[in-house]
């Protein structure tokens, strides 16, 4: 369900069996940072089938043709509500939160994230919109990261940025933020979803429950976008994965990811209609 929190620019709540995630997005004006914290390594964009074609790497240049910095940024943060403390030790919770936050940060701040960061720029080299994505885990029931991504995508669809007018007078640029007009975040549709594949024994499972999470030796977090392209792959866990199994896992994640995206987009368009028709949401009650 979207549009639950009035104070936030966009919000979405996802219930995946017992996993309960609430994502709130706030957009604020900030400085374009001189040091690029986000684009150190390129995340290569892999074409659908041919892995050997990766000499086609599109480098995520942060500067445009004139060497000016013109991108906004996205800051992700994941927090766990105290009811999650029942499942994990305190330190483990912190680790999980930091790891997932970093994963999302890396994914979304680049071409693979789908979101048009250049459209977030207000004044080159100085100000831009910063999108703060705050995910709150209200209850844990397995498969956290997938649910967080689904909720983030929903919240992005729901987010409205105030329209900004840039004026020039005597060579000095200034901007004015509109009060009423808002626009959507460009490129939210291209945002990928994550499919977590858990390796147990010699095979793998998708959408794990808490018990299955505990049993898994290794975990692969694969992000798939609308076109079926793999946007990022990260391996977690202490075990090792055989190469053949690895390809199988990624392929399986790819198929499932596209399915999830299609269904999610259907639900989100229904949500939009509900909001347009001013029907009240179920909310938390």
């Amino acid at each position: 369900e979207t549009n639950l929190i009035n104070q936030a620019s966009g919000s979405c709540r996802v219930l995946l069996d017992q996993t309960d995630i609430l994502v709130g997005i706030k957009v604020e004006i900030g400085q374009i940072e001189p040091d690029n914290v986000n684009d150190e390594e390129d995340e290569t964009n892999l074409e659908e089938d041919d892995l050997s074609r990766h000499n086609n790497i599109v480098s995520t240049e942060d500067e445009d043709v004139f060497g000016e910095r013109n991108k906004g940024r996205i800051v992700c943060n994941i927090d766990c509500s105290p009811s999650v403390a029942k499942f994990f030790e305190f330190k483990k919770i912190e680790e999980i939160c930091i790891e997932y936050s970093q994963y999302m940060n890396r994914l979304l701040n680049g071409k693979q994230g789908g979101i048009d960061l250049q459209s977030l720029c207000i004044l080159k080299n100085s100000t831009c919109w910063i999108i703060y994505i705050d995910a709150l885990v209200l209850n844990y029931g397995g498969n956290l990261l997938d649910a967080i991504f689904v909720a983030t995508r929903g919240a992005l669809q729901n987010t409205r940025i105030p329209k900004c007018r840039v004026e020039e007078s005597q060579g000095i640029f200034d901007f004015e933020i509109g009060d009423e007009e808002t626009e959507i975040i460009e490129g939210w549709r291209e945002m990928p979803v994550c499919v977590t594949v858990n390796k147990i024994g010699n095979s793998f499972i998708l959408d794990s429950t808490p018990l299955e999470d505990n049993c898994s030796e290794a975990r692969l977090m694969v992000s798939i976008n609308r076109k079926g392209q793999i946007c990022s792959v990260q391996k977690d866990g202490t075990g090792a994965i055989e190469p053949t199994l690895l390809t199988e896992m990624i392929r399986s994640a790819q198929t499932k990811g596209k399915l999830i995206l299609n269904n999610l987009d259907l639900v989100l368009s229904n949500e939009e209609k509900r909001i347009e028709n001013l029907i009240e949401c179920v909310g938390f009650c």
Binding site: I5, Q7, A8, G24, N77, P82, N139, G283, F284, C285
Partner: protein, 436 residues
């Protein structure tokens, strides 16, 4: 925001409320399955979750064990809860202070003496702040503790009140709080009327203080009636859910039934010769012992088939099934025989078929009456047997509490054709989930 704008000349506040009106409240308990107790409350636009774990064993071994339960309160606000995004700091002093206030309040209300050497963990999560963080959190805590079943002396309800323009106003929202209106937060134990906590962070004239306190008390009592009803409704809902989930038995009176769905069974059999086919077949040995077979299990009804007789009665695909023709299976005596043989969940099967045949004979003779046909001299069945399987309209309770092939309801009516009193015998069995 000027103070004079808080209450308009018509007596309405910014959000259209009257000065002594509470904001709209919505609440729900048992929102998280994993917690011992949980609650969600929304007053106006302030949204708060409370989760309670406990009483449970003390997790930190360093804590000295006391002869009463220890309360741990954790207070956190979401980063998107305020107008400006604020990254939550772990050691935020304001949050720690709020947590400690709540701890002090509830330490006196919860019967901590009943749980020595244990702890109760209360966690509060604020999703959206629109004024009144502390009092909404206190209300949420009360609900969650009740949901967890932790014994308390009384409810603890809290409300805020302020004073502006010579009027006391109730339940301030964030704009009113930010406009330097003196705000008094009050926590009340409704039954005894005692004040558990009170806090004022601004200047107010002593003459006006009494008015504000009484308004806040009034607000708390309003909250009490609302939340009490909400809790009772929630408990009823939980009870209904658990009742319908664990047992589908819906026994009850049928109420007035005006029409039944029925079919007449064939009842032409007058002797046990009907079952002679069994003796000729492979189902029984010459002395009447039933032949056993490998165990098979037919799942939806839950029949364990371990001998040939039951195979013949229940498994359509088996070779022994055609021993009885479809016509024969429609006979009432066959129904009786089949029901007795298949039995219920804890049926202990007989080894010899004679016991089943005896029982069938007794039941059958009891239910039907025979007479001699004047013309042929043969015995024939004079009663009519009807099988009831439903009603024309919806009855108060269903005919059978659950769906099962061993359900049956037969009405045997004697004396339909002749004169004299009609006698109706009911032969009814319903499987229920008790043995499931």
């Amino acid at each position: 925001m000027y103070k004079s704008n808080i209450v308009s000349p018509e007596g309405l506040r910014i959000d259209g409320r009257r000065p002594t009106e509470l904001r709209r409240i919505q609440c729900k308990t048992s929102v998280f399955s994993e917690a011992d107790g949980s609650a969600y409350i929304q007053q106006g636009n302030t949204k708060c979750f409370a989760t309670v774990f406990g009483p449970r064993e003390i997790s930190r071994k360093s804590t000295p064990k006391q002869e009463k339960a220890i309360l741990n309160v954790k207070f956190s606000t979401a980063s998107f809860s305020t107008g400006q995004r604020k990254k939550q700091q772990k050691m935020d002093k304001r949050l720690l202070e709020l947590a400690s206030t709540i701890k002090k309040i509830f330490e006196n209300v919860i019967m901590v003496g009943q749980f020595p050497r244990s702890e109760v963990d209360i966690s509060l999560q604020i999703l959206q702040i629109d004024g009144g963080t502390l009092h909404v959190a206190i209300n949420a805590t009360t609900l969650a503790l009740i949901d967890a079943g932790i014994p308390m002396l009384d409810y603890v309800l809290a409300c805020s009140a302020g004073f502006v323009d010579d009027q006391a106003i109730l339940d301030l929202n964030i704009t009113e709080e930010n406009a330097d209106v003196p705000t008094l937060t009050l926590a009340l134990l409704p039954k005894s009327g005692k004040v558990a906590m009170t806090g004022l962070e601004s200047r107010i004239h002593l003459d006006n203080l009494e008015q504000v306190i009484s308004l806040a008390t009034d607000g708390c009592l309003q909250l009490f009636s609302f939340l009490d009803n909400a809790i009772r409704d929630n408990v009823k809902e939980l009870a209904m859910k658990s009742l319908t989930k664990c047992s589908q038995d819906r026994w009850g009176t049928l109420g007035k039934v005006s029409g039944v769905l029925m079919e007449e069974t064939s009842h032409s059999v007058t002797s046990l010769d009907f079952f002679d086919v069994i003796y000729k077949s492979d189902i029984v040995r010459p002395n009447g012992d039933i032949r056993k077979c490998l165990d098979e299990y037919i799942d939806p009804p839950g029949f364990l088939i371990s001998d040939e007789l039951r195979k013949c009665l229940a498994m359509e695909a088996s070779e022994v099934y055609p021993i009885f023709t479809q016509e024969e299976r429609k006979e009432f005596i066959f129904h009786v025989f089949k029901s007795l043989c298949l039995g219920g969940k804890i049926c202990q099967y007989e080894d010899n078929i004679s016991s089943y045949l005896e029982a069938t004979k007794l039941v059958y003779k009891d239910l039907i009456s025979v007479r001699k046909n004047a013309k042929t001299g043969d015995l024939e069945v004079s009663s009519h047997v009807f099988k009831i399987y439903g009603f024309n309209q919806v009855s108060k309770s269903p005919l059978f509490p659950m769906d099962h092939p061993q359900n049956f309801c037969y009405l045997s009516i004697k004396g339909v054709d002749g004169k004299g009193a009609k006698v109706v015998d009911v032969f009814y069995h319903a499987s229920d989930t008790f043995y499931q």
